[in-house]
């Protein structure tokens, strides 16, 4: 009877609202699609959004109300600090209330810790973690680049990006010199010009950053405004507000390590995916970047059907080592040891002359590299504690 409730918590207000808002819209769009494909066990999925203002404590309150209403799943994307708190909370809740457990579906919090030191049986991550993204980013650096500058947000995720990127630079590109490397407070800075000044002075050719939300957009905006001669290697320049911030001035300067870009589908000639993407563009007059979310629900659908119930323990077990062919037709796998998805990934370059432009800027993300799941695999140190076992 009824629906399968999935709690979703993300910043829907505050500086990062834009990201949460975009996520929510895309999530809704995808759920409608999944439900039109029959949902799971004949039930439809229903999304219950909770605003967490980017604060762990609020996320935990969301978790409380989710469990109060016996929701079997909670989903969260933005903020590894919040993810960490959620994992911790979910663990405690689940072993204190065996009769009312919940699974945490992580749609974007990508600090590697979460599936290593902190890995949990109740947590599944559906986005490549920062270590993997960092490797992709470093491989994307052209030969002539010799001096890079690192800016990251001062919290779990930013710190991990800082660590991983430096790690892979050391491994893969010893020729590159890190001329600057710093952490900035999360979502507080309104004008990045001072940083740009500093970066220019350092003589860096490329700026590597894991920033997201305003910390990403304002950073690049300041750079473009100051006319700094830099290339920007980012994780999240393609998220809401990014393209607008870059604008025409950023032609061929900005790269994004991304799970999907709107031009991927036409480039690989996948009509179905292109149609699906356009569907969203039509509906919301807004770019569609979260193909990963669709994969999540396809996993959920499969797992629930396989488990024959929404009982979290059963679903979690069913989810392990599950494989799904995502809507672009690539193979993906939910790795059993650490509950980290292994999927293909893309590098996009922001430039003119693409089929689908971003945020009406006339420029858009052209896929400059595609990395297949098998090449992404990275080892993990997770010691999973399974209930009962």
């Amino acid at each position: 009877q009824g629906t399968i409730k999935v709690a979703y918590t993300d910043p829907l207000s505050g500086p990062f609202a834009q990201v949460g808002d975009a996520n929510l819209k895309q999530m809704q769009y995808i759920i409608d699609y999944i439900n039109s494909k029959g949902g799971a066990l004949g039930k439809k999925f229903e999304l219950a959004p909770f605003d967490n203002k980017s604060q762990p404590s609020d996320a935990l309150i969301a978790l409380k109300s989710a469990t109060d209403q016996n929701m079997p799943f909670i989903m969260q994307c933005s903020g590894s600090n919040i993810a960490a708190a959620l994992i911790d909370g979910v663990n405690k809740h689940n072993d204190r209330n065996p009769d009312n457990r919940i699974i945490y579906l992580n749609c974007g919090a990508v600090a590697p810790e979460l599936t290593n030191e902190q890995c949990s049986f109740w947590h599944f991550r559906f986005d490549l973690h920062a270590g993997m993204k960092a490797e992709v980013m470093v491989r994307a650096l052209p030969k002539q680049t010799t001096k890079v500058y690192l800016i990251n947000q001062d919290y779990l995720f930013g710190q991990s990006v800082q660590r991983e990127v430096k790690n892979y630079l050391g491994k893969l590109r010893p020729d590159i010199q890190v001329v600057g490397d710093e952490l900035i407070p999360l979502g507080k800075i309104k004008d990045f010009s001072p940083y740009i000044t500093k970066i220019k002075a350092s003589g860096a050719q490329a700026l590597l950053t894991g920033n997201w939300g305003p910390d990403m957009n304002l950073l690049i905006k300041a750079g473009i405004d100051a006319g700094a001669d830099l290339r920007y290697y980012t994780f999240y320049a393609h998220l809401a507000g990014g393209p607008t911030a870059i604008g025409a001035g950023g032609d061929n300067r900005v790269l994004a390590v991304m799970s999907y870009g709107e031009n991927v589908a036409p480039e690989i000639g996948n009509k179905e995916a292109e149609a699906f993407t356009n569907g969203f563009r039509e509906k919301h007059k807004f770019d569609f970047s979260a193909a990963g979310f669709r994969t999540i629900f396809e996993y959920l659908q499969a797992a629930v059907n396989k488990a024959g119930s929404v009982e979290p323990a059963k679903v979690a077990t069913a989810m392990e080592d599950l494989t799904v062919k995502d809507f672009l037709g690539f193979d993906t796998k939910m790795r059993k040891e650490d509950h980290q998805i292994i999927s293909e990934y893309f590098v996009g370059t922001f430039k003119k002359g693409v089929k689908y432009d971003a945020e009406g800027t006339g420029l858009g993300w052209a896929t400059s590299a595609t990395i297949l799941a098998k090449d992404i695999d990275q080892p993990n140190t997770c010691k999973m504690k399974r209930p009962g076992a």
């Binding site: 762990p56 935990l60 109060d68 009312n100 779990l156 999360l186």
Partner: protein
């Protein structure tokens, strides 16, 4: 026995508070409503916090914008203590974790107090604000003690209880909160009747004069501030046990503001005012915020209305009836109230509907929520609901104006009846309670 006769209200209150959660008990699943318990626990904690804030604002006329620092510091200390205990560094019963928080608060209360109590009036308000911002910024910066953006998560199940309770369930925690809340409240009430408490009032009323009766007002304030820190710290300790995580928002200005709001809405100075205020504020924040996106707006409106029409706070409003009550003619107000009620309700409904319509068309939509009353969804774009809302608002407004006039006449008449001097005392008391301007100007 006579003890019992004197303090029965407290006991009664305790029992009632213990009982309330059972009204929401879910018998089918055989478990308490986690939400209600958390809400009630929150009220307990914030009540302590508000009372400790009142030790500054009400008792000493010190307007602080950084009181949450003491709460938060207490919380962080308690959290670290819990971690240490779990790591086996030393043994401490779970029941005493709040005390650990209290000592933390005491310490920081003394240190910070030493800095700020030199200042008075606006300077004090500003320096406490500065400290508040400073600490909350630092909390994001120093991983070691504050755990940065992630905060410090703990597991309250320490298995060190002297009562053999695990505190795995919110209910057990709620009971602990309740006990501590009563202890703290009682202590703070007594403190007002000690020499220090009395001199705190004196320094509030006339800073300089206090010197010429042999007291160093600075010291009076410092000790008062330190004690306030202690109780805020206890609140912090309990906070940790409830949420099992401390993040920078426990030290944030928003939290400090909460205390101020609670105290003022309830009525500063007195003892029950702050508690009353806390209940209102928390219900608005945690309760209404779930139902409505616009809850902040309601808080704002409530505030402005209170400040403009009931400077004595809710307690003040209640006190205004005292003379009539003593004259034993409260009954005669029943009818006027009854007559004023429907229009008031109409206005309220109209206003709420209007606000909700507005908020759902924008915020609600953005958060993927739809406006539903009793199950059926309202189309916020259709003109009809708006018309109804506006209509209710205006109609109610006019009607209320009429009723209010007759109400006032009745009221004045009754006041006349009640003994004149007692009125004066009560109302002046009501106003005096609020006139903390010495604190700021």
């Amino acid at each position: 026995m006579n003890m019992l006769r004197r303090h029965w209200p407290w006991l009664l209150a305790f029992v009632v508070l213990l009982a309330i959660p059972f009204l929401f008990y879910d018998w089918s699943k055989g478990r308490h409503s986690g939400f209600v318990l958390t809400l009630m626990s929150e009220i307990g904690v914030m009540a302590i916090f508000a009372l400790s804030y009142n030790m500054l604002m009400g008792q000493s006329g010190l307007l602080s914008f950084g009181h949450a620092v003491l709460l938060g510091m207490g919380a962080y200390c308690a959290a670290h203590v819990v971690l240490l205990v779990k790591a086996g560094a030393f043994w401490l019963p779970t029941e005493l974790v709040p005390l650990a928080g209290g000592l933390g608060g005491l310490f920081f209360g003394y240190v910070l107090g030493w800095l700020v109590t030199k200042q008075r009036a606006t300077a004090f308000a500003m320096i406490t604000m500065g400290l508040g911002e400073l600490v909350s910024a630092a909390a994001l910066m120093f991983m070691g003690f504050f755990g940065g953006e992630g905060g410090i998560p703990i597991d309250r199940v320490m298995d060190t209880s002297v009562l053999g309770v695990r505190y795995s369930s919110p209910w057990q925690v709620y009971c602990l909160v309740l006990v501590w809340a009563f202890i703290a409240a009682a202590l703070m009430r007594l403190q007002t009747q000690t020499p220090l408490g009395s001199m705190a009032n004196a320094t509030r009323d006339n800073f300089e004069r206090a010197q010429f009766v042999g007291y160093d007002p600075r010291m009076v304030r410092l000790y008062q501030f330190t004690l306030a820190g202690f109780f805020a710290g206890i609140a912090g300790g309990l906070y940790v046990l409830i949420y099992e995580i401390v993040t920078f928002d426990t030290v944030s200005a928003a939290k400090s503001a909460n205390a101020l709001l609670a105290v003022y809405i309830g009525g500063a100075g007195g003892f029950f005012g702050p508690i009353l205020g806390t209940v209102v504020v928390v219900l608005l924040q945690s309760g209404v915020s779930l139902l409505s996106n616009a809850w902040l707006l309601y808080v704002g409106v409530l505030f402005i209305v209170m400040v403009m029409y009931a400077p004595g706070g809710l307690i003040g409003l209640i006190f205004m009836h005292a003379p009539i009550w003593r004259a034993g003619r409260l009954r005669e107000l029943a009818l006027p109230y009854a007559r004023a009620f429907p229009p008031a309700l109409l206005v309220l409904l109209g206003f709420v509907l209007l606000v909700e319509l507005a908020s759902f068309t924008t915020i609600g939509a953005a958060q993927g929520k739809t406006f539903t009353i009793a199950g059926n969804t309202i189309d916020t774009m259709a003109p009809m609901p708006w018309v109804i809302a506006l209509g209710a608002l205006m109609l109610g407004g006019l009607w209320l104006r009429r009723e209010a006039r007759s109400f006032r006449e009745r009221w004045d008449a009754l006041m006349e009846g009640a003994k004149a001097d007692s009125i004066k005392r009560q109302i002046d008391a009501g106003i005096a309670i609020v006139k903390t301007q010495e604190a700021v100007s």
